[in-house]
């Protein structure tokens, strides 16, 4: 079919491991299609298969009636632009240079960019409001600015299809909406088909014409947001009880995950959680269920606690994957801590990379903030830095504003009593 991406019974995976089974859907030009599903349901694998990063095992992927796998990679890159979740660039390329990389599939090996290429790059940067920092190094840009540059790069490919791989999940809500609006505008004006993977169900509901809900590598449901985002589907796939309501302003759906069917009333307490490495997973969920307003930080991208924080749509200070927390993020964390009524520290493992979190806790406690330490594990078992961290922790514990609890029930009780 002309102007349609047709995916039919697509099956693929890595090595011996089958990840996607019999996936079928259509994406028409000008349409916004959302793909949602829990972690590990195969969302990102889908984009890898659709762009030829991994081979398909069975099934067909066609665009304009032609097999996508038969296209040369350069030809494919002229049809499909991809915006990944995050991009790390080690060298100080300018924004303009990065967007110009979108013209790569149009340029021969020894060819220099021509007027037409300059024009497309300029236009893409205008559309994403990145032109004003075209000469700045991408290393100096904020997360939201860099992601807009990457969107511009995808637009410069003059694609007929754009795939967003959780492209907004590390951005704050303002930037999330900004980027989704830019893509939507472009999709409508240029008749581009957009496939976007979403972690955030509300974002999917708001921006997508149709949604594919994946569960364990298979399509669980597909259709309009009203048809897919039902309580039954969410219970079956995410294992959550959720309220699904219509936004009175624009009629879009919104989903509120709740533990019990009756939503607890909001407790007017702002809690900041310092965690990492999975130590905060359950406690974050419990705090939200109890109705506390929760902020988190600093977490590395790809930390499993961050997945939960994102799932719960919490405000979180993030650091690049596997990197040490830098000064800027540490300060940001302290700033958020100042606003919190109480700070909770889980028994996260302390390494050189996140020592800054421990320091921030100490500074906050020293400044008179209430700090609750969840100590399911002894500090020396989870300390991988040595005696300095040990001493810092001892100093932290000895502050009057600091209290230790042995488990999450104790923690919630302590919070509820508010008597520390």
């Amino acid at each position: 079919m002309v102007g349609t991406l047709e995916v039919r019974e697509l099956t693929t995976g890595y090595g011996e491991n089958e990840v996607l089974k019999n996936i079928s859907f259509d994406l028409k030009n000008g349409e916004m299609l959302g793909v949602i599903g829990p972690n590990g349901s195969g969302k990102s694998t889908l984009i890898k298969a659709l762009t030829g990063v991994i081979p398909t095992w069975a099934g067909k992927i066609k665009y304009d009636g032609k097999n996508i796998e038969d296209l040369h990679r350069r030809e494919r890159a002229r049809k499909i632009g991809v915006v990944p979740q995050d991009t790390f660039i080690n060298f100080p390329f300018t924004s303009w240079e990065v967007v110009m990389m979108g013209r790569n599939p149009y340029l021969g090996r020894f060819e220099n960019p021509k007027q037409k290429d300059d024009l497309e790059v300029k236009e893409a940067m205008k559309a994403t409001k990145t032109l004003r920092f075209k000469d700045r190094s991408v290393r100096e840009l904020s997360g939201g600015e860099l992601q807009r540059v990457v969107v511009a790069r995808a637009l410069a490919q003059e694609p007929q299809l754009i795939f967003l791989d959780e492209a907004t999940s590390h951005l704050d809500i303002g930037h999330k909406l900004e980027i989704m609006n830019m893509v939507k505008d472009r999709a409508k004006t240029r008749e581009i088909g957009v496939l976007s993977i979403h972690h955030n169900l509300n974002l999917a509901a708001r921006y997508c014409d149709n949604i594919v809900l994946l569960d364990d590598g298979e399509v669980h449901a597909t259709g309009t947001p009203e048809e897919v985002l039902t309580r039954a589907h969410l219970r079956a796939v995410y294992g959550i009880e959720a309220e699904v309501d219509k936004n009175p302003r624009d009629g879009s759906l919104y989903v509120t995950p709740v533990k019990n069917i009756d939503i607890k009333k909001e407790k007017e307490l702002l809690v900041h959680v310092v965690c990492g490495g999975g130590s905060g997973r359950t406690i974050l969920k419990e705090l939200v269920d109890e109705g506390y307003e929760v902020t988190v930080g600093v977490l590395n991208v790809m930390d499993s606690d961050l997945d939960m924080a994102e799932f719960l749509d919490l405000n979180c200070v993030t650091e690049a994957p596997f990197s040490s927390i830098n000064d800027k993020n540490k300060k940001e964390n302290l700033r958020i801590m100042r606003d919190a009524d109480i700070i909770i520290s889980t028994d996260f493992a302390v390494g050189p990379g996140n020592l800054a979190n421990l320091e921030a806790l100490y500074q906050a406690a020293n400044a008179g903030k209430k700090v609750l330490l969840l100590e399911r594990k002894d500090f020396h078992e989870r300390n991988h830095v040595g005696i300095e961290a040990e001493r810092l922790y001892r100093d932290l514990v000895s502050q009057d504003t600091v209290e230790s609890v042995k488990d999450s029930d104790g923690l919630l009780n302590s919070l509820a009593e508010g008597n520390i």
């Binding site: 090595g15 890898k48 762009t51 030829g52 990063v53 990679r73 350069r74 494919r76 890159a77 002229r78 499909i80 632009g81 991809v82 990944p84 991009t87 790390f88 660039i89 080690n90 060298f91 100080p92 390329f93 300018t94 240079e97 990065v98 990389m101 979108g102 790569n104 599939p105 340029l107 090996r109 020894f110 000469d135 190094s137 290393r139 790069r153 490919q157 830098n326 000064d327």
Partner: protein, 340 residues
């Protein structure tokens, strides 16, 4: 960042390279005036020699048979190592990568050590060093293949492991060789790198390899740019990632292996020059590669001139002594930001 002026920068560096080369030929145990060097050099060139008369005698012998080949080898080594380093840093997306990261130096060192131990001639020794350097790299490649793809992280570790293994074996040979036979000194001199043995026949071998190698790295320069966005994104932008990695890694390893075979392990040029060049023209490889090449040539002749004045100490000592302070300066300048 200077950008529009890249053409001027490259022209300026080319002129600087020529001036440095001629100046270097005037310096040494015998002082030969600048004008004389120019005349002798021009007289050696085909066609031009009809219009130029140059003095005969010992100056001519020194310039033509000793200094010029040494300077030429210095330029070739400087260019090869800098381009190789630029390519490695690009493929590894890491400003700390060097031409020797995949075991070229340690492999070549082992071959040379064996060669010195056996007392091989100056024809067979480079051949042996080149063979062991290349075999080491291919072993590293074989170890770095994961599911029919070259995995950069595995490759790095494989290179590290082979570097240790080969260095260990070299140390053993050094330790076991009898001190009276000068073998230890020869191995040490090779490990530090030197241009002392330069001769025209070496130029005839290394020059074509350099031209082809640098040409290949340059031909894949845009692909190298796009790979900085991540391998998956590069693929989605139409780059043949596997082929780019293969061409870049093999070419830059061969460039480095060739130079190791003839000049020993001249350190720091391939690590530091790409940084310097990046400060001037930015990270875009189409500009970066020629700039780094010329800067590498200039830097190595300067270092070798100093080494000659200091009584022919291995040039590798000078490159490290000059290079490290520059590196520390970069570190201080960029503290806090991990990018360069």
């Amino acid at each position: 960042m200077i950008k529009k002026n890249t053409g001027w920068i490259i022209a300026g560096l080319t002129v600087l390279l020529l001036i440095t080369a001629v100046y270097s030929a005037t310096v040494g145990t015998a002082d030969i005036p600048f004008k004389e060097v120019v005349l002798i050099t021009l007289n050696e060139l085909p066609l031009i020699n009809r219009y130029v008369t140059a003095p005969e005698g010992s100056s001519r012998t020194i310039v033509v048979l000793i200094r010029l080949p040494r300077i030429a080898l210095g330029i070739i080594a400087g260019i090869s190592l800098s381009v190789s380093g630029t390519s490695m840093q690009g493929i590894f997306k890491n400003p700390m990568a060097s031409p020797f990261i995949l075991g070229v130096s340690a492999g070549g060192g082992l071959g040379a050590a064996v060669g010195f131990y056996l007392g091989l001639s100056f024809f067979y020794l480079p051949l042996l060093a080149f063979s062991t350097a290349v075999s080491t790299v291919f072993l590293v490649f074989a170890l770095g293949r994961v599911r029919k793809k070259t995995d950069i992280a595995t490759l790095l570790l494989a290179g590290l492991a082979m570097n240790f293994l080969m260095s260990g074996l070299t140390s053993y040979i050094r330790y076991m060789s009898p001190p009276e036979k000068m073998v230890q000194m020869q191995i040490l001199s090779f490990m530090l790198g030197n241009l002392n043995e330069a001769a025209w026949n070496q130029i005839f071998i290394t020059l074509p390899i350099m031209i082809v190698g640098v040409g290949l790295v340059f031909a894949y320069s845009r692909d190298l740019n796009v790979i900085q966005m991540g391998e998956e994104s590069a693929l989605q932008l139409g780059v043949d990632v596997e082929r780019t990695k293969f061409v870049q890694l093999v070419t830059s390893s061969l460039l480095a292996a060739t130079m190791v075979a003839f000049t020993g392990i001249i350190g720091f040029v391939g690590l530091m020059i790409p940084h310097g060049a990046r400060l001037i023209v930015g990270p875009e490889h189409k500009r970066l590669i020629p700039t780094a090449a010329l800067m590498g040539g200039i830097f190595l002749i300067l270092c070798d001139t100093i080494s000659r004045v200091m009584g022919d100490i291995p040039v590798g000592i000078i490159t490290v002594l000059l290079g490290s302070p520059f590196f520390i300066y970069l570190l201080i300048r960029n503290r806090g930001d991990t990018g360069w």
